[in-house]
């Protein structure tokens, strides 16, 4: 009798542990898609922004070209690694562009530009928060896969540790707003 109760308890625990792992794995996938959605949204916004500001910003051609080229690279990237490298170039370039817009009173008076600026700001934040959320849930999944006793379930049913989202090196440095734009970035 006691033996039976123990068996039942173990089976119930195993079912719960398995379901929890499945749920976390799905959350990891979903969090990844969230990042993807925001990156795509950013791709869509870039041409509009460039179109809106290029008339005003004759002196910032380099910044504009850098963003546009990085976007093209990201879209045609053959693999995940080079795509993420291009995305982080976009992040740097857009950060600089948004900072530079502050120097142009005409741009700051343009309603369309302001609207695009807000859209890009929130998209940048969404990317950062989505990445943060993704890493949080990966941490949770990996902890569960590696720690006893849930690792027994994970091992038997082929759950694999997920990979953290690592930014490119320049991405992790504190973004420095360089208004002169002559010095190379760290």
């Amino acid at each position: 009798m006691v033996f039976l109760i123990i068996i039942v308890a173990i089976v119930v625990w195993a079912v719960f542990a398995y379901n929890r792992l499945v749920s976390l794995r799905n959350q990891v996938d979903n969090s990844w898609r969230q990042i993807d959605v925001q990156l795509k949204r950013r791709h869509d916004l870039i041409p509009n922004l460039v179109e809106a500001v290029k008339g005003y910003m004759q002196f910032e051609r380099d910044t504009l070209t850098q963003v546009v080229e990085a976007r093209a690279k990201a879209i045609s990237a053959p693999d995940q690694a080079s795509r993420m490298a291009a995305e982080s170039q976009i992040t740097t370039g857009l950060g600089r562009l948004l900072a530079v817009i502050e120097n142009y009173p005409q741009l700051k008076a343009d309603e369309n530009v302001l609207k695009l600026q807000e859209e890009l700001t929130t998209t940048e934040n969404q990317i950062a928060f989505a990445r943060q959320a993704y890493n949080d849930v990966v941490l949770e999944l990996n902890t569960r896969i590696q720690s006893f006793p849930s690792n027994l379930i994970a091992g038997n049913f082929g759950f694999k540790a997920a990979e953290y989202f690592k930014g490119a090196p320049e991405d992790q440095a504190v973004p420095k707003v360089d208004l002169s734009m002559t010095a190379p970035r760290a």
Partner: protein
Amino acid sequence: MAASNFRALEATNRRETVVLVVAFMLLLGALGLGLDVAARDIAIVNGQFVGFPVLTIAALVFAGAQSMVSYYSGASLVLLSVHARELTADTPKHQVVLDVINEMATAARMPVPKPYIIDDPSPNAFATGRDPTHSIICVTQGLVDQMDREELQGVIGHEMSHVADYDIRTMMMIAVMVGGIAMLSDFVYRWMFFGGFGARGRGGNNRDNQAAALITVAVIILAALAPIFSQLLAMAVSRQREYLADASSVEFTRNPRALLRALEHIAKIESPLKQGTAGTGHLFIVNPREGVREDDEGFFANLFSTHPPLSRRIARLQALLGAASAPTLDASAQANT
């Protein structure tokens, strides 16, 4: 880590809501029973129970209905009582608020709450609803006007943490039940002073009458104390939650400065909310009533405030800001390694 923390808090809040509803039923049931005895609908005559406890049953039905209404329509009632309307992107600043709510929902891994706004110049905000998929975040126009993007993130992050750990459910139930108890005790008072009191003489010996008189006194005391008890309850349960929500806001924004700046800003502003907030004060991020924000310490100040003193919350955030500058405590760095 963070998520399991939220799950533990969620379990606590689910349990507390059940306890709250049971206690509410018992309190009102006792009230009804006392009234039945007082009105001599029921009595114990020579050891025999006689009569039909109509008021007890009425009170229990009322309590059950009130609990159901609180759970399913509590959020609408709260929004109605503070005169909130749905927030739309009609101005650029409102668009920013909508964007920030979306951002914080992403950071908290929660569904996006429905945004509402109160037309009031005093900066404040609250969250309500029965669970994250039926959640609401409400800001005042004053908050929208006075906060920059970073400060808004801090405030919305705080509200999002109330959503994530189901604080919103407990606090909403308390808000609507406090209103219900106030209504009921008002009714009992009127009924006692203007209604028929023992006019219908029923048999019984002296001892029964004495017992009935005692119970009557108990009912009067209970009816008088009920609103005070429920208010105390609301205060006791909400203070600890504010510290927790402050900490979670920092976790979402990864930026202790955001909420710190917002609270410091609000601390400088004296104007209270104009809308009726008697039953809803504990929902807001800072106490919306006048004269209760100052930094009183001591038993009575603690007993009657729904929020910890702002200066203490600010001090705790400053401590976090100091700690966050140490690289080992940076959560995102941790996750990235």
